[in-house]
Subunit: 195 residues, 2 copies
DNA sequence: CCAAAAAGCTAATCTCATTAGCCAGCGGTG
DNA sequence: CACCGCTGGCTAATGAGATTAGCTTTTTGG
């Protein structure tokens, strides 16, 4: 019988896809093996452990995530960049909840962990976007943390189904971005939208 | 030999304490049993399953969480209430990471789930706090969602050790609360603090 | 003091992750 | 074309955890 022809990348990609389908927490070696048409122990020829698999999925996920945000911010500035980037992030998380969870659960293991550059890429995009607001020195780090908190919090709460009231969640997200934009733009409500 | 004298409440409380110590994810029936000086199967005389235990911990946690926020907001309004409540929440999460994780992982199972009133209590406190800002009709729900996203996001990122830069995290938290307060107060930076 | 309910315990089952050891397909070499 | 070594897949076995079954003994109401 011919071999399945798996390799690290294939197994990782399949794991990521499966995590999106069944939830990162429900991802198991057995389920993944079945999905790949192989017996469970065979997976260990490509990943050293379930933790290793999870880490590889996280690296893959964070790079895709970084790509999505970078592309959404490209060529835009200020409010445009904020809104585009934030919506891209939200869309990506809703489309890839398992990958997002894997990325959040991952821990940097050492100085040459490929997770590190992936994380940096995400932060670099947000930082570049914030530069458009020309904040005072020292405010950048606070604004970045606030932005991350807000977007990450919104994404996880939404993914967890914690927004239960009927009011449209899209509206809340847009409202929140407006709030941030106005605040960052220096409390000058209409300065950016007036003709 | 005398009995250990356990009951549901004791087991749940011990489980919550253990979750705070070792992390909610590392909580196991065996570890809890050992902590209580009993054999693992004995726990099943008090909780029906590990999922049941986790749910009970979540209910306990959310009620304690609600208490902390209610107490912090009591007797204050506007910025005072926001800052006090937010700091109380942050302090509570840092002191009880396992409980907080249990509360987040919990899912409402039915219409008479005791988790429901606990969640409502938390939301009610935040809603009451926001009333102090006299927002326009329809804005409340958006502001509430933004507040939850921001605080939950900050708390989870901080608990996960995701804020790695040296800059003081306390400062970022305070900066974020100022940002929110200013925005909610209607983009009138000094209207609330001027004599 | 007695009987039933409650709370512990041991032994056994099941699900998973992981390891050990065997065997066959594949690619390159003579 | 036959051969060799590596690699990827397989079966069998181990070990941690959750959970269940069934037995025993403390507790408690009468």
């Amino acid at each position: 019988m011919p071999r399945a022809g798996l390799d690290q990348a294939t197994v990782t990609a399949a794991g990521a896809a499966l995590a999106d389908e069944v939830g990162f927490g429900a991802l198991s070696m057995g389920l993944l093996a079945e999905r790949l048409g192989v017996r469970t122990p065979s997976l260990y020829k490509h990943v050293t452990s379930q933790a290793d698999l999870a880490h590889r999925i996280a690296v893959l996920a964070l790079n895709e995530f970084a790509d999505a945000i970078r592309d959404a911010i490209q060529g835009r500035a200020g409010r445009e960049a904020l809104v585009s980037g934030a919506h891209a992030m939200r869309r990506w998380v809703l489309a890839h909840p398992g990958r997002y969870a894997a990325g959040n659960a991952a821990v940097v293991t050492g100085p040459d962990d490929p997770l590190l550059p992936a994380v940096q890429r995400v932060l670099a995009s947000w930082t570049a976007m914030l530069h458009g607001y020309r904040l005072d020195r020292g405010q950048d780090i606070h604004a970045l943390r606030m932005l991350r908190s807000m977007l990450h919090g919104f994404a996880t709460l939404e993914a967890a189904g914690s927004f239960r009231i009927a009011t449209d969640i899209d509206d809340s997200f847009t409202w929140m971005l407006d709030f941030i934009d106005h605040g960052l733009a220096g409390n000058q409500p209409d300065s950016r939208t007036a003709p």
